[in-house]
Symmetry: C2
Subunit: 209 residues, 2 copies
DNA sequence: TCCTAGAAGCAACAAAATCGCATTAAGGTG
DNA sequence: CACCTTAATGCGATTTTGTTGCTTCTAGGA
């Protein structure tokens, strides 16, 4: 059967959506996020304010949509030959992107204008997909791999917690440390019983500033 | 030369602040958060809207202030006789409070109107203080204790990540599992290099509750 | 080609946020 | 205690933003 006409993904609606999104991206760079207003975006995008209010509700939901787009990864993680190397590289890049001032702003925006948690769930899915790609490659190589959930709990969650709640305590070395702990936990788990109990070998906690 | 008349913590300002906070708490219960408006709060609190706009900027920052107040723990965690029991109980209560619909709403509000991250940092500090109380008691008992940072990374961060990004995948069993993994990690670390073992005064017995 | 319904435009209206200025009252000073 | 300074509030005019009913347009299907 042909696609249902529930929503209209193409034609004018799509053009309006793209124009508004592009305008938001441009204006955020020009006048800053705080100075943005719906009428301003509407005027620049060649649209009436009521269109934006009806489609997005308010400025926060619009910013949330734009932020999720920007948070979507553009490419698969690099293949460096081993699980450990891939995870290290991915975690470092993740921290670089997410902990940067614009990254933090996007994360905040994505969470804020998101009453039902849809956009937040999408962000989390992006990270999970990237991790799954790395893990699938490791499986191909015959390496033992941890579960995606473990990596989300041990690597992604601490990074995001710091970004949201403790600005400043975050760098590449910390990201590598998290990966080390997670991988060690997985190895211990493989060697021991198949529960999720974990016993990392090393854990040097050196809180910086 | 008068070094400190920077702000006015007492007198009318304090009364206004308390009145506005109380009004917000009352109105959130009556009409719901979404129906709240600054003029509505101002009228009920016996204050002019411009006062609120000048002191808090906008409704989001006001809600953030109120949310942080509500997120502050009222009492120290219960003393159940052992580190493991205390952590289990605390983590379960933490999940109960934070993952409940009102808890999620407060967390969102606290993060929402918080441009400089002050309120977010305060939330994180609350959890750290509670954990520190539990750890200090364990040290008194002579138990080996993990570092606060480890517990934040392994227990608090995954819980908050799920609350914010993956609504629904959260319960008491998961909280206990996180505590188990964190405590096991700490024990493995202590076995590897015994660094910070507090001088055990006397090993108290471990009552069941 | 015609039909239908979702989406956008338009304009009047309602509500909010902002700003200048007058007034009040904390907190320090002599 | 009287007085002074000034942050904080009150008040009203003004600007800006958000809402709503209705019309017009157009993508997608018959």
């Amino acid at each position: 059967m042909s696609p249902k006409p529930m929503v209209r993904p193409g034609g004018r609606s799509a053009r309006v959506q793209e124009s508004v999104h592009a305008t938001v991206r441009a204006l955020v760079g020009e006048v800053g996020r705080d100075a943005l207003t719906v009428p301003m975006v509407a005027a620049r995008a060649g649209v009436t304010p009521s269109t934006i209010y009806r489609r997005w509700g308010d400025l926060q939901e619009l910013l949330s949509d734009v932020a999720v787009e920007r948070l979507r990864p553009e490419a698969d993680p690099a293949d460096l030959g081993s699980l450990r190397a891939d995870l290290d590289a991915w975690a470092e890049q993740f921290v670089d992107e997410m902990a940067s001032p614009p990254g933090r702003a996007y994360i905040r925006d994505a969470l804020l204008g998101d009453p039902d948690g849809t956009n937040a769930g999408r962000c989390s899915a992006y990270a999970a997909e990237q991790i799954d790609v790395v893990l699938a490659r490791a499986v191909q190589r015959g390496e033992p791999v941890p579960e995606t959930e473990l990596l989300i709990d041990r690597v992604v969650a601490p990074i995001m917690y710091r970004i949201l709640f403790r600005p400043g305590r975050l760098d590449a070395a910390y990201a590598r440390e998290l990966v080390t702990n997670a991988v060690c936990a997985q190895q211990a788990e493989a060697g021991a019983h198949p529960t999720r109990a974990a016993a990392p070998r090393r854990s040097k906690k050196k809180p910086d500033n």
